[in-house]
Amino acid sequence: MPKARLTREQIAERAALELPDGAYVNLGWGIPNLIAAYVPKDVVVYFHSENGILGMGPRAKAGEEDYDLVDAMKVPVTLVPGAAYFSQVDAHVMTRGGHLDICILGGLQVSERGDLANWRVPGAKGAGGIGGAMDISVGAEKLIVTMEHNSKDGQRKIVTACSYPLTAIECVNTIITDLAVIDVTTDGLVLREVAPGFTPEEVQEQTEPKLRCSENVPEMALRTK
């Protein structure tokens, strides 16, 4: 029986550990959208929503929704103390201008040198949509990509060069998947942690470019197993 990879929620839980206390953070669609629920209790972070909110709180309770107070995905949300509203220009002065501390986006492919493709699958129907992903990727002080290590049909998503349309070049700092935590460095990809029960060799098998690692790669520390 194949070993169990991390669930999407467990990827989110591991990614939440990357958030330092007091950080201003933008979370993208997909797995990143699950992260807010896993922020450790002793850590306070301020979420940026690119439609014009800093200090976005949890989803609004049923019956308390205000449809002028929504996130970028139309979900009615709340505010935390100290929150602010601003225009679309200011929302992206914050992203592009490098004012946010950490941004976490979903990914379709990440290359060896940190190129990110996350907005369009070639050949897919429809127009696709860039949204704020390009501004966020270019400006992020630190960009983390959370995604499954392989596509649904088993393709490797960490590749030597992206074949999907790019979001931005040389922008990703860290990749967190259902198999590993990998840092993008000037010397290539470095395997920092493996998912519980997996070996560096098994992670390498599912990764196109060569991974560098120390002799003992620790397992990810997760509360939920």
Binding site: E65, V89, R96, G131, A168
Partner: protein
């Protein structure tokens, strides 16, 4: 309402505020649908949700060309017409979409930006290295009309927004020849706190009072 949009001609360039269902001038959009102007070139973050927001204008086949950042999976009529090659799309990164409007409103014809370097967005654009980093040249983006939504206006046209419904609205107000605003209420001039005014009246040409329509 219909009077406010009665002079929008066929082929006009119109920008529409709104993002995430909030801050769309839905009453003005429906007025434009009734007016029936065709071959419109529109600028908006999204391309509608079903019949809501810009959806009705696509449903009526009034739009020929659209500049957008995220057309959206709910933009049924747009997606059908896009797949059939019946509507043209220029896809723009969201922050660049509003920065191009800001530039237009500020009298800046074009600017260099790091967003989209090395991607499809850079195709056909001048690239330049400034202090060791690659940038592409982005053009200012203006319109004949801006349709925007605010919460409250005074009789002069000073505007106050509500929560995340602000989004693109104050930027678009500066980037069109004629700015038409839809508000929940109009108050006497002098009763809005000048510290809270986000869009000063100089940018606003027409005010329409209408109960907000939300497309949840």
């Amino acid at each position: 309402m219909d009077l406010a949009v009665a002079d929008v001609p066929d082929g006009a360039i119109v920008m529409f505020g709104g993002f995430g269902g909030a801050g769309f001038p839905n009453n003005l959009i429906q007025g434009l649908a009734r007016r029936g102007a065709r071959n419109l070139r529109v600028i908006s973050n999204n391309c509608g949700t079903g019949d809501g927001e810009l959806g009705i204008l696509f449903k009526n086949r009034q739009i020929r060309h659209v500049v957008a950042a995220f057309p959206g999976p709910g933009a049924t009529y747009f997606q059908q017409q896009f797949d059939a090659g019946e509507v043209e799309l220029e896809l723009v990164p969201q922050g660049i979409l509003c920065e191009r409007m800001r530039a237009f409103g500020a009298g800046i014809p074009a600017f260099y930006s790091p967003v989209g370097v090395g991607t499809d967005v850079a195709k056909g654009k001048e690239e330049r290295v400034i202090r060791g980093k690659r940038y592409i040249l982005e053009q200012a983006l203006g319109a004949d009309y801006a349709f925007i939504k605010a919460y409250r206006a005074d009789r002069m046209g000073n505007l106050v927004y509500r929560k995340a419904a602000r989004n693109f609205n104050p930027i678009m107000a500066t980037a069109a020849k004629i700015t038409i605003v839809e508000v929940d209420e109009v108050v006497e001039t002098g009763t809005l706190d000048p510290e809270t005014i986000v869009t000063p009246s100089i940018y606003v040409d027409r005010i329409v009072v209408a109960k907000g329509i939300h497309n949840a």
